[in-house]
């Protein structure tokens, strides 16, 4: 495809959920749309490939969702995880938009399934994509293709061209060559910067080089950095990323969902020196995996080891990698490269601190230790029954918070005012709403709602200008 000779109305940087929603809305409004996707086709769709659900407001049962989930409850859930680090106006737009978005998604090819086994807590609030996020990405790409949207793969936007507050085109690297592509407007939906390890290391410190990246290696934040360098207003803490504790043997990039490791509450976790460092039983895992991302990041070499015995072997979701196993604690420590005496001592101290009581893996059971520091305040059973099993844990980065500030119309702003014809959607602007923490399925909500807004607004502004009108 000769994209250099294309003269599109709208360039969309990225090809994940937010980018596709924008492209579809703009194309349905008559825009000629060119999507520039940095990844090759099999990896298209950024981190949307790894998602699985969409948090949706609803006043009555809708599609696969039961009961009701109102704006007030939704916003309260959001404020709880972000500790108030939220632009409430934008948050309400995302929340309200989600209810209308769900039937729109179905009409544009997305198929939902009942909430997956083991996700009962989300069955009222989150609609699950049949087959997960890649199936959603495929469905939207088919819809976009039918609408005449052009997608260039392996086409990374390197620079955005501005004339004052006006976008004029981009420079993209396509197959090793740099191409200038003019266009009348742009939607920037190319994700965060978590795959740029140097950037992560400069923001977080050298320890970040040992982090695993759970999602795509193509979210390198090139567009984000270029816009910030050109004076776009930013939101979100530039030093922060959302990291969770995952299987330490996961691939450096793109391990996705299967690298989750939810054995921590039923284990004790030691660092490289064989010492415990935090209460493993503080809370249920879905509320705690992010805290453990930070805890592990603070340990030597950014690695930790969860140790369980035979009693706990079936208490958590199956893992993609089998654990190391041994019939003695010392043997297990040696297999994992830990000092055996130190680990034996830690386990013995912990076991001695365990007290009788009833274990309940499904809820906070109050089965806690006494006289060991740190304590384990739930699920504290002695580790006594061979075979013993061990899993390495490392921090896995899900996304970064730094992004572009947008208004309710998804328009990107410079420090003085909005750009005339640049919009943003998805992870690149999610920091406006999700300034801290994470709420399951909310990234897809932000991407879908603001992607649609960005596409519609771009079409409205660009077509009124084409018709001789002026833009707002």
């Amino acid at each position: 495809m000769d994209i250099a000779s294309k003269n599109p109305d709208l360039i969309v940087a990225g090809a994940g959920n937010a980018a596709l929603c924008a492209a579809i809305e703009a194309a349905e409004a008559g825009m000629d749309v060119l999507m520039l996707e940095a990844a090759p086709k099999p990896y298209r769709g950024g981190n949307s490939r790894h998602t699985r659900n969409f948090r949706c407001m609803h006043d009555a049962p809708i599609s696969t969702l039961s009961g009701a989930y109102g704006e007030k409850e939704y916003l309260a859930d959001l404020l709880r995880v972000t500790n108030g680090e939220t632009d409430e106006e934008l948050a309400r737009i995302a929340i309200r938009g989600s209810e209308k978005a769900l039937p729109w998604m179905e009409a544009h090819g997305v198929v939902f399934q009942n909430s997956l086994s083991g996700t009962l807590s989300l069955e009222r609030t989150n609609a699950f994509f049949l087959g997960g996020g890649k199936a959603l990405v495929n469905a939207y790409h088919n819809t976009a293709e039918d609408l005449g949207v052009t997608v260039a793969y392996g086409a990374e936007v390197r620079r955005v061209h501005l004339d004052g507050d006006r976008f004029t085109g981009v420079t993209a690297r396509v197959g090793g060559a740099e191409l200038d592509i003019p266009a009348r407007g742009a939607v920037l939906a190319s994700g965060g910067f978590q795959a740029d390890i140097d950037w992560l290391a400069s923001a977080w410190g050298e320890a970040a080089r040992n982090f695993l990246i759970r999602g795509t290696p193509y979210n390198r934040g090139v567009v984000l950095r270029d816009m910030l360098d050109k004076g776009a207003r930013s939101v979100g803490d530039p030093t922060q990323c959302h990291a969770v504790a995952i299987d330490g043997r996961a691939p450096k990039f793109d391990g996705g969902i299967v690298t989750r490791l939810d054995c921590v509450p039923f284990s004790i976790v030691v660092n490289r020196h064989g010492e415990r460092f935090h209460d493993e039983g503080e809370d249920v895992w879905p509320k705690h995996y992010a805290i453990w991302g930070r805890l592990v990041a603070a340990q030597p070499d950014q690695v930790a080891y969860a140790i369980i015995d035979a009693k706990a072997a079936d208490d958590f979701m199956p893992t993609v990698h089998p654990p190391e196993t041994a019939d003695t604690i010392g043997g297990l420590a040696r297999k994992m490269g830990l000092p055996p005496e130190a680990v034996e001592k830690t386990v013995a101290e912990y076991n001695a601190a365990c007290r009788p009581g009833t274990f309940d893996g499904g809820d906070l059971d109050g089965l806690s230790t006494a006289g060991v520091d740190p304590p384990k305040t739930n699920w504290a059973r002695p580790i006594t029954d061979p075979p013993f099993a061990g899993y390495a844990l490392r921090p896995g980065v899900t996304f970064t918070y730094l992004g572009l500030k947008v208004g309710p119309d998804a328009r990107v702003r410079s420090n003085s005012r909005p750009y005339a014809n640049i919009w943003a959607a998805g992870e690149i602007m999610a920091g406006s709403i999700l300034g801290q923490g994470y709420l399951a399925g909310f990234g897809m909500t932000i991407g879908t709602v603001f992607g649609r807004i960005a596409g519609r607004e771009a079409a409205r502004v660009l077509s009124s200008r084409r018709n001789g009108g002026t833009h707002a």
Binding site: R52, V111, Q113, L116, G118, L130, G132, A135, R260, P318
Partner: protein
């Protein structure tokens, strides 16, 4: 372990992939394979065999998978299960050597077709006719003498294979509700529906299509109607002393003509869809045998219709020989050809019904 290239045996490769799937679970809604898989934490050989026979190769899971190549996990579950399915059907067949030939080799199937047809040409030429219609070319007694053993022996062989399968996968006593659930799943091809979606991801890549489900339904129901037609003729012949030829308004014709049309059209459509689909998402080693079998079904239906259309012409003798030759081939190779998949699949559906409500 996970980043080794897939050079393992079908069983090892299926185990490697299923372990990854079981940690992900995004595909739960597509078909019966996933709830069955997710009910376990570890997988014995027979558990994997059961998953392989349950898989209908709709491919929805593959196109939805974030771990397909070039990802280092290199998942291709439809192909892994198809390879294991073919291997198991060969391993469990009795005698298994024949299955190895007919499942894998399109050339062998074609040779069998030629041989079957040749036998019938010789029979028609050598044996005396006796009666009206096509019996004037080959007597009823000769047909019975040829087809009774050609029907009963393969069924007995198939029975041996299915018993082996049932034992391996730990099947127990079945109830009426198990049979009802399995029959409903088979009759509607529930597992080609894509769950909540609109069919398979087969001939149009990641786009959903009902074409394969419809084509397979036509071929399956067409075959069953043709079988019912023959059975009704046998009943009329022996119980009602009403031998062939039958008029159009008679059970054999009313079942056989629509059956033949459905079988011919369905099998032809399946062959076309197979050509359009990505062969890497099935068992590549079994492709030739599968295609030859599909064409055999198509030619069997077509020759039957042609025979009826040629009534009263000089073409009856050669068409009779051709049609009966193809039917003979179909039956004689039944336990060792792609045809066996229907029986194994039903056994797997029955076993799955049992798992869901023991």
């Amino acid at each position: 372990m996970l980043d080794e290239p897939p050079t393992a045996t079908p069983l090892e490769e299926a185990r490697r992939q299923v372990r990854i799937c079981n940690a992900c679970r995004y595909c739960e809604g597509y078909c019966a394979v996933f709830p069955s898989m997710f009910s376990r934490r570890s997988f014995a050989d027979a558990d994997l065999s059961q998953l392989a026979q349950l898989c209908h190769n709709c491919r929805g899971c593959h196109y939805a998978c974030q771990y397909t190549e070039p990802h280092e996990f290199a998942l291709n579950l439809p192909a892994a299960l198809a390879d294991l399915r073919a291997e198991d059907q060969i391993r469990l067949a009795w005698p298994s050597g024949l299955a190895g030939v007919f499942q894998r080799s399109g050339v062998a199937m074609a040779a069998a077709m030629a041989a079957g047809t040749a036998i019938l040409f010789l029979a028609v030429a050598a044996l005396p006719g006796d009666g009206p219609g096509f019996y004037s070319h080959l007597s009823h007694a000769a047909m019975v003498a040829i087809f009774t053993p050609a029907f009963l022996f393969p069924l007995a062989a198939l029975w041996v294979a299915l018993r082996r399968y049932w034992r391996e996968v730990g099947g127990g006593r079945t109830t009426l509700s198990h049979w009802r659930d399995a029959s409903l799943a088979a009759a509607t091809l529930r597992n080609l529906s894509g769950g909540a979606a609109k069919g398979c991801n087969f001939e149009k890549g990641d786009r959903y299509s009902q074409a394969r489900r419809h084509a397979h339904s036509a071929a399956m129901w067409g075959f069953l109607l043709c079988f019912a037609s023959t059975a009704s003729g046998t009943i009329l012949h022996y119980l009602f002393d009403w031998p062939a030829p039958y008029p159009f308004l008679s059970p054999p014709k009313l079942l056989g003509v629509p059956g033949g049309i459905l079988l011919t059209a369905g099998a032809a459509a399946l062959a076309v869809l197979k050509l359009k689909s990505d062969s890497k998402l099935g068992s590549e080693s079994a492709w030739g045998g599968e295609m030859a079998f599909t064409l055999l079904l198509c030619f069997t239906g077509l020759s039957g219709l042609a025979l009826y259309a040629a009534t009263g012409t000089v073409l009856v003798a050669p068409l009779l020989a051709a049609h009966l030759g193809l039917v003979l081939t179909l039956f004689l190779t039944l336990p060792w050809s792609k045809m066996a998949h229907g029986f194994f699949r039903f056994a797997a559906l029955l076993r799955d019904a049992q798992r869901k409500s023991p």
